[in-house]
Symmetry: C2
Subunit: 195 residues, 2 copies
């Protein structure tokens, strides 16, 4: 990684933290320059526009999510071990990795009615995520480790709902039992899914 | 309702639509004046500050949610009929009532890391909502219509997760099967809960 790449990576790190705590729409070249202690013209040389910057932030978040959540889970055995790894990695992602929670969730509500390339990219990555969850469930069924009558996309939907409810209870309501409710919900989902 | 109240109601109606489609932080006296075709000074006389305006919007949304979702459900019999009414009323709320989806959900991600009275109010109403769901489940258990070993707050968590996943699949991903996945998930939750 050259010095330019390293600088860009450290800028994106700062930008991701902003997206996580304040939302993606606050990640502008001006605000990021202030937060990162860099000149606007320097940042502009890296990203060209607010839109390019926001796309770079989502791309970086997506790469990290694949590296930290998806890829390690896919190395686990099909069925319960893989689902459990996904769950644990994802919990870490939404709790430890980002001070303000998953940057995709922050962006999702902001962008759901804001057409444009940033929304398009978000929709594509989040659609990929639902597809990945569906594939993981399907692979578990094919391996004979999840129930044959399991609807893979329904499991993906329920899995997603657990994380969205966790985010809500933990980030917004700061509920003391957010984690235990989330774990109980996941364990019940898994118990219903396994053979 | 006096003319002043009627004007205020119609302004709040416009403000709620803005909150639903663009997020609560775009509901400012300046932007609302433009959208409602009113003078900024006239709006200022009604609301005094951006913060007061946003609080009024959330209070109005909360009143409507109680009137349209909660109250009619509480008139249904305990157990499955009451849960089903909550589900149907809520689906209507998040689909038909608001062009851009539930204004609380739009506000929740914006405000989760933004301390202040608007966030405090949102947290209070959303905490009340989880409590209401818990009480509805508890009443069903006490009436002997939901399983005695049901954890009411767990049901509330799972119910919330279904709506959050619906919102995500429908609003963000525009998934064609968002509604059927949501209904299937609710029916499965209900089937597990009833005696």
């Amino acid at each position: 990684m050259g010095k330019g790449d390293e600088t860009k990576r450290s800028i994106l790190d700062q930008a991701l933290r902003m997206a996580s705590t304040q939302g993606l729409q606050h990640v502008t070249i001006g605000l990021l320059a202030g937060a990162a202690g860099l000149s606007k013209s320097g940042l502009f040389a890296h990203f060209r526009s607010k839109e390019q910057l926001q796309l770079a932030v989502l791309r970086e978040a997506s790469d990290r999510f694949v590296n930290k959540v998806i890829a390690p889970a896919l190395r686990e055995a099909r069925g319960a071990p893989r689902l459990r790894a996904l769950f644990e990695n994802w919990m870490r992602w939404d709790t430890v990795e980002f001070p303000g929670g998953c940057p995709f969730q922050a962006a999702a509500n902001e962008l759901d009615d804001q057409p444009g390339p940033v929304r398009d990219y978000l929709v594509e990555t989040q659609g990929d995520l639902v597809d990945t969850l569906t594939t993981v469930a399907q692979a578990g069924v094919e391996a004979g480790r999840l129930r044959a009558d399991l609807e893979p996309r329904q499991l993906a939907f329920d899995f997603l709902g657990i994380f969205l409810a966790y985010h809500y209870m933990f980030r917004l309501l700061r509920a003391a039992d957010a984690t235990s409710l989330t774990r109980a919900s996941f364990e019940a989902l898994l118990a219903r899914a396994v053979v």
